[in-house]
Amino acid sequence: MTITDLSSDADTAARGVIDPSVPLLSVQDLTLGTGTGGRRPVPIVEGVSFDVAAGERTGIVGESGSGKSLTLRAIAGLLPGGVQVQSGRISYGGTDLLTMSARRRRELMGPEIAMVFQEPMTALNPVMRVGDQIAEGPRRHLGLGRKEALDLAVQMMARTGIPDPARRARAYPHELSGGLRQRIMIAMAVSCGPKLLLCDEPTTALDVTVQLQVLKLLERLCADTGTALVFVTHDLAVVNQTCSDVDVMYAGHIVESGPVAEVFRAPKHPYTRGLLESAPDFDRPDRELVPIPGFPPNVADRGPGCPFAPRCGYVTDHCWTAMPPLAAVAPGRLAACFETDRLGDPL
């Protein structure tokens, strides 16, 4: 692809016309790590690839430190200081986000890609009325006037299920409950009609009943508007409720991916299986919970083999020396395990 091609792609993406033949979001062989120049680079996320089609809802699950949030932040262009993209490509509608100018990228954020943060308290400006905060994006990106933008904000608040939105629009964040604040965050994120919504554990700070409402809301909004969702969480139940596809991450790698229902019914990677076996299942309360022994490896001293090998019940000699590739194990299913065939029956 030539440089002129790239720029015209960016123009189409910025106008919101997206080539339907390419996935909406495509992450290819993404490696994120610390240390450049003289220091020994330490990869935190290694060789992560996945595609998100328009309207698809993808969950990324993994434990703390698995690199799921960093992957999401790399897509949003929000990598913390000290972490860089070391290789790979993140393209949106065929346009590479990583080589795009900062200015052009800012044009995309809001009308094309939006993000919902984890903490609804800190992600809202404490001294600005929530209506004004929601209206800010539409004013900037859709060129609306003050009044129209505020009307749109109130509409958005109504769509996110906030009762009495006109009155609440004049409230400050501290006057609202956690659930309402998260709804405001979502209203803010979808106010410009993005095609891709990035969610970084948006329900972790909420209690369980409110969590369910917010998940249902996200699901409904995405279904109504055809917005694609990338949903990062450590909570398997949340993925089950919200997403159609799931990528399971462990120690910086995607170890398994596929449709949620199939992955959860018959996991093809020992780690996924371990996760499911260690989580309570309300349909089968008598099932024994099996913890995964050991701890996740330190990013700095991973061996050459499979990162899960030290904790794995199916480990063979081969696992210690070579990293299993993420390969097709069934139609639509990928797993990175040499011993996937030995894995037991469906859960």
Partner: protein
Amino acid sequence: MTTTPAPPGVEVTETEAEVGTTPGSPPVDTARPVRSRTLKPWYRNGTLVVGLVITGALILIAVFAPLLAPYDPLQQNLQQALQDPSSAHWLGTDKYGRDVLSRLIWGARVDLRIGFLAVLIPFVVGTVVGALAGYFGGWFDTVVMRVVDVFFAFPFYVLVIVLVFVLGAGESSIYLAIAAVSWVAYAKIMRGELLVAKKQDYVVAARLGGMSHGRILLKHIAPNVMSQALIYAMSDIVMDIMAIVTLGYLGLGIAPPTAEWGSMILDGQEFITTQWLQATIPGLAVVVTSLGLSLLGDGLSDHLSPERRK
């Protein structure tokens, strides 16, 4: 919002709000007007009220000096020099027979005016420079902070006195000297605030939403961080007034015969054994002013600090 002002000690007045209307979701969402819990009204903040009363009274005295002062502060009457307090001269007279009370009242005008005005330039310059340094970082930040370090190496009063000495006595020299020295404190405060603020999720979110740096600084960050600079400004006015009085005392301030507290102390000190009121009264005026402004600053810091909003 149905916010009832809570009596002291009483926790939230909670309004059970209308329930969520999302289709298919159980109605659990509530909205609480939390304001009544976290923000006690300003008039219940004792420190703030006392500070406001003292400072307000002093400002009124300064503004209405021509009406309040019983005599012309410059009117000499050598036959009545060095009198004790009497019904005619409540605080006595100085060595030229001028009424001490009138000079004290007119002195408030000079000292407060210079004190308040002298804060403005360093406040603006310091907050802007410090905010930019903290927000953008990089070489600008490095340069600004090294300059700030140099200024901080010298005591405030020493630098101001030296600068006024070099620039020549007088009001404009005082403004210049104070501006040159005290902007660094604002810069340092604002830089620190910005280092924290720019990492806040709401700033990141605004950035992610495609907002420009200017808009983020003015709309999102400034309202959240200005209170610290404002609170410091209160104690800075105290420092400035002390500096003006000190300069007056050293003969570097406002030229005589203008009534000014520092020069009144200077004039009065030679009679300290016989007419001690002459040096003590303007000294007390400085103390009361400082007290008022300090209380005001403390009260404001209580009232405005962001922790109270959480």
